[in-house]
Amino acid sequence: MVRCFLIHTVCPVSALSSAESRILYSRVFGPDEAALTEQQRGLSAEQRRLLQREKVAVVARQVKSAVYLCREASGRALLEAVPGEEALALQDANSGVVRLRAGEPFSDETSALWLGVQSLGFTLVCEPHENLLLAEGTLCGLTRHCLEHLHMLGQGSEVLLRSNRIDALLSRLLPHGQLLFLNHRFAQSLEKEVTAYMAK
């Protein structure tokens, strides 16, 4: 099961310190683990929400530093793709996986798969035993849809103002965090529904 899906900055943001990352979209799947663990039982719903937000922020920061180090090591210059060149931007993206130990931040060990497309990172946090090949493919698909349907290569802010589209996309391709084995026919059928939704 995928624990969460994030879209966040991996470039420096003036309002934040150099380590922090601005989260543009975050969706945590399943019940809040804080409600179910013994030690965190005493927290109120408000505190649990705050804790969850902090955990997500930790993941974003880890991925941001992983992206930075990966780009520094590879030494490749970032090419600025323009709207219409989504496939190119995706091809040029860095990808990798960060191991998050138990407790840092989720109570069990998890793996954070990431795709760094220019100044933004797309991250999927999975359980360690998850099929990473499938997760990789799903992440690429989600990123491609987000880039296309939300015109993310441009200067707009649709990722913030049309987040319901991402929700709808996730409800089809990653329902409640479940990775799906979709061959091209099943995927086509779901993508048709997604396109129909986006057109509204």
């Binding site: 399943g30 929400r49 793996s111 099929n131 329902p175 061959n183």
Partner: protein, 815 residues
């Protein structure tokens, strides 16, 4: 991509004033109370979501507005469902809010899941879900049922006890139906328009395989059609959660280790004895081959629901493996085939662990798959689960696993070190199985030169894994080679970069950018140096003679980011190495390691902070070594004195020098080793004295920094300690100290910049001198006997009595 516009939107959302916010709420409420919903409503809801999610602190909505949003969850317009669910997830549930699971609505379920405050909430959601599955009529096929399985999976991840035995049985039965008995005809396609679309033309069309041929067996995720029926969708969803289901409910009872073959056999016997009829069925299956697995499934009716799931999972996986051999038309399908292979092998492994009798049926298939894929490196990630299968079951099936280990330990790290996902998965495989590997696979501990390539290439990503793995790679036979390899990791990093660069850029092109190292890499005369670093196995020599040549060739790599990142991880790994090796090493090995440390302290790749860091690690562990085995100092006094007697070392290796001198002063005594003679003490004294004279009488050589005061005081203390053991040396100490006093009266000296430091040094000298005036006292202070440094007061007859009495009193006195 991320613009100022977005940043200012977020800022606005966070800093919205309370009054403006309330106005917004009431405007929104009015919009929601209208009969029709237009773009303005959607946009406002979206804005509300942004306001709520932009800050980590929770905002509460007015009750009326929240109630209205709750009712929107069941709106026919999906956008409203999505938005209301998203907004409500960002705020707190209303007290007394009763939200029931509405089976047609995935977004309501998402809200329920995220708001679940306890296991009881999850249990009730679970019960409602299962009930809806039971009562489902085979009505219009929309995918309203499909989201139930993902929700069950989510609940399983966090709280598997929420499903009762009954639920598990019911779901097992459903899973069997969906996995094995889904329709094998195509569903109604969306694009079946055309002239002849009357009921006559709706002939049932069979499903097809990915290469276009008509499918001849049951439906799986690798089957295609124009459209899909509901149970075919459920087939996809069932398979997607199958592994997790098996892991949760079918795991081997804890306490039975996988390595224990005898126990596992017994377990399988007990399982099969509990269903004696199924024993006869199994014999039928023994000779079954990969395809047409389903032919003999009739007898499985006598198995329990759990066993049926296992059997169907087994058949499904074998079919997937067969289907993955077909040539798919689309690239995404080829990728899916790979993912299916991984999943299938993992599920087979899981199933075989639970029921070991299946191993004999499974192995031929897995072996054939291995044979098919082992020569193709693009399938490396599929071969890892196969390796896991071999590790778990290879011994039991008496199969030779050599070729598998050769692939995993020799080929993959050498050729695929730059694949981050393979690195992650391979290292995870090693981490989870290192105990088993240590027992079964001898080449594991010898393959560290190869495995470290992952670290040399991408240190930040995998250093965490190596922190866990390194202890298992430390053995007494290979420890010295491992130490050398760790110290030369930055060189390995540079070499890997060169290796990739030399294969990607043409040979004829002159390295006009001054890449001297690339030329060196391609030079046949120097090839041997690089080949040593790139070796795949340990055992061919601890290190090479011409290491300094190699370092010089790679000097320009000192500012390559990859090399710098790698160098930053080496100190941590060295600490782990020493911590591990000190537990298992004998005195011989410790001696050898100490000499390596002294030798390598000047033989490191010249990266600015790297050398300093390594020296610091060495110093720390040299001390620990000496403390553990004080006799080492006497044993290796010759080498240590040679090191301490070289004045250049004061300037280039200050940290290590200081510690070596301290160790000499502390441990070169009869109480540490009876072989310590007066002659030895005297020669040591003379060596150190000479160095001390030299550094305090002239300024440091050009380019070197002045020695820290600590160096001088350590030398003085060491001399004093040695003198306290051989009293003839005391006058010589006093000579030096008086010289020092005179020199410092002049104010500043060439070898010490700070006047305060100079005063401190001289004061120290005075203290030592006054101590040495009474040699007997000096001896007990500077060379305390063992019972003073490691007191065990309770053993001393005089001291133990008061201690005992005090203990008894505190025990017997009631508070």
């Amino acid at each position: 991509m991320y613009s100022h516009g977005s940043e200012s939107l977020i800022k606005q959302a966070r800093e919205i004033q309370e009054s403006e916010l309330q106005k917004f709420y009431s405007r929104l409420l009015k919009l929601l109370q209208a009969k029709e919903f237009g773009h303005e409503t959607i946009d406002s809801l979206q804005r509300l979501h942004l306001i709520l999610s932009a800050t980590k602190y929770t905002r509460t909505l007015p009750t009326e507005l929240q109630r209205r949003l709750l009712s929107l969850l069941s709106s026919p317009v999906e956008q409203l469902q999505v938005l209301s669910s998203a907004v409500l997830r960002e705020t707190l549930p209303l007290s007394g809010q009763e939200l029931n699971y509405n089976q047609d609505n995935s977004h309501t379920a998402a809200l329920l899941l995220s708001q679940a405050g306890s296991r009881a909430d999850l249990s009730s959601l679970c019960t409602q879900l299962i009930r809806s599955l039971e009562n489902r009529q085979s009505d219009p096929p929309n995918h309203s049922l499909t989201h139930t399985l993902p929700i069950v999976n989510a609940i399983l991840t966090h709280s598997p006890e929420c499903l009762t035995e009954e639920h598990v049985t019911l779901l097992s039965k459903k899973l069997v139906d969906w996995l094995r008995y889904a329709s094998i005809t195509q569903g109604v396609g969306a694009s079946s328009g055309g002239f002849f679309t009357g009921p006559r033309s709706r002939q049932p069309v069979p499903i097809a395989e990915l290469d276009g041929t008509v499918s001849g067996d049951f439906f799986t995720v690798l089957c295609v059609g124009q459209g899909f029926t509901e149970d075919q969708w459920m087939n996809v969803f069932s398979f997607s959660m199958l592994r997790h289901w098996l892991l949760t409910y079918h795991s081997v009872p804890s306490g039975v280790p996988i390595t224990d073959t005898a126990n596992r056999l017994q377990l399988s016997f007990s399982l099969s004895h509990s269903h004696s009829f199924s024993n006869d069925d199994r014999s039928e299956f023994d000779s079954s081959v990969v395809s047409m697995v389903s032919a003999t499934s009739s007898s499985s009716r006598l198995l329990s629901p759990k066993e049926r799931v296992r059997e169907k999972a087994f058949q499904y996986c074998l079919r997937l493996i067969e289907q993955s051999d077909r040539k798919a038309h689309k690239r995404t399908d080829t990728d899916l085939q790979k993912a299916c292979l991984v999943e299938a092998v993992c599920i087979l492994d899981c199933v075989c662990v639970e029921d070991t009798a299946l191993v004999y049926r499974t192995f031929p298939c897995v072996k054939a798959l291995f044979g098919r894929l082992s020569s193709d490196l693009t399938f490396a990630r599929v071969l890892l689960p196969i390796a896991q299968f071999y590790l778990n079951h290879g011994e039991m099936a008496a199969v030779d696993c050599e070729s598998v280990w050769k692939l995993v330990f020799s080929q993959f790290p050498a050729e695929l070190f730059n694949d981050p996902f393979l690195a992650h998965e391979l290292l995870r495989f090693l981490r989870l199985n290192h105990e088993n590997l240590l027992l079964r696979v001898p080449q594991y501990t010898r393959s560290f030169p190869n495995l470290l390539k992952f670290l040399a290439w991408d240190s930040p990503a995998v250093v965490d894994d190596f922190v866990d793995l390194l202890p298992s790679l430390v053995t007494v036979e290979t420890a010295v080679e491992l130490l050398h390899t760790l110290l030369d990791l930055p060189c390995l990093s540079a070499t890997l970069v060169l290796q990739l660069r030399s294969t990607s850029s043409p040979i004829s092109e002159p390295s006009g950018r001054g890449l001297m190292s690339l030329d060196a890499f391609r030079n046949p005369a120097l090839r041997g140096l690089f080949l040593y670093l790139l070796r795949t196995e340990a055992g061919s020599g601890d290190t090479i003679d011409r290491l300094s040549v190699l370092h010089e060739l790679l000097a320009e790599a000192a500012d390559w980011p990859r090399v710098v990142q790698c160098a930053q991880t080496v100190p941590v790994l060295l600490h782990i190495f020493f911590n591990t090796v000190l537990k298992v090493a004998d005195e011989n090995l410790l001696t050898h390691l100490m000499l390596v440390m002294l030798e390598r302290s000047s033989l490191l790749l010249k990266l600015p902070t790297y050398i300093k860091e390594i020296h610091r690690v060495f110093s720390c562990h040299l001390l620990r070594l000496c403390k553990l085995h004080p006799s080492l100092v006497v044993n290796q006094s010759h080498e240590l004195l040679e090191f301490a007697g070289t004045t250049a070392n004061v300037y280039s290796k200050e940290e290590i020098f200081t510690h070596v001198v301290w160790a000499l002063g502390e441990y070169l005594s009869v109480s540490c080793d009876s072989r310590c003679s007066v002659k030895l003490i005297t020669s040591c004294f003379e060596t150190l004295e000479a160095v001390l004279f030299e550094i305090t009488s002239s300024s440091p050589p050009p380019g070197a920094a002045r020695p820290a005061p600590r160096v001088v005081t350590t030398l003085m203390s060491a001399l004093a300690k040695l003198a306290s053991r051989s009293h003839d040396l005391i006058p010589r100490v006093s000579l030096f100290l008086s010289k020092l006093r005179t020199a410092s009266r002049g104010g500043s000296v060439a070898w010490c910049s700070d006047e305060e430091d100079l005063v401190a040094i001289v004061t120290r000298g005075e203290e030592l001198w006054s101590l040495l005036k009474t040699p007997g006292v000096a001896q007990s202070v500077l060379t305390p006997p063992a019972h003073v440094t490691t007191p065990q007061w309770h053993r001393d007859t005089n001291l133990s009595m008061p201690l005992q009495l005090r203990t008894l009193t505190s025990l017997t006195h009631t508070q």
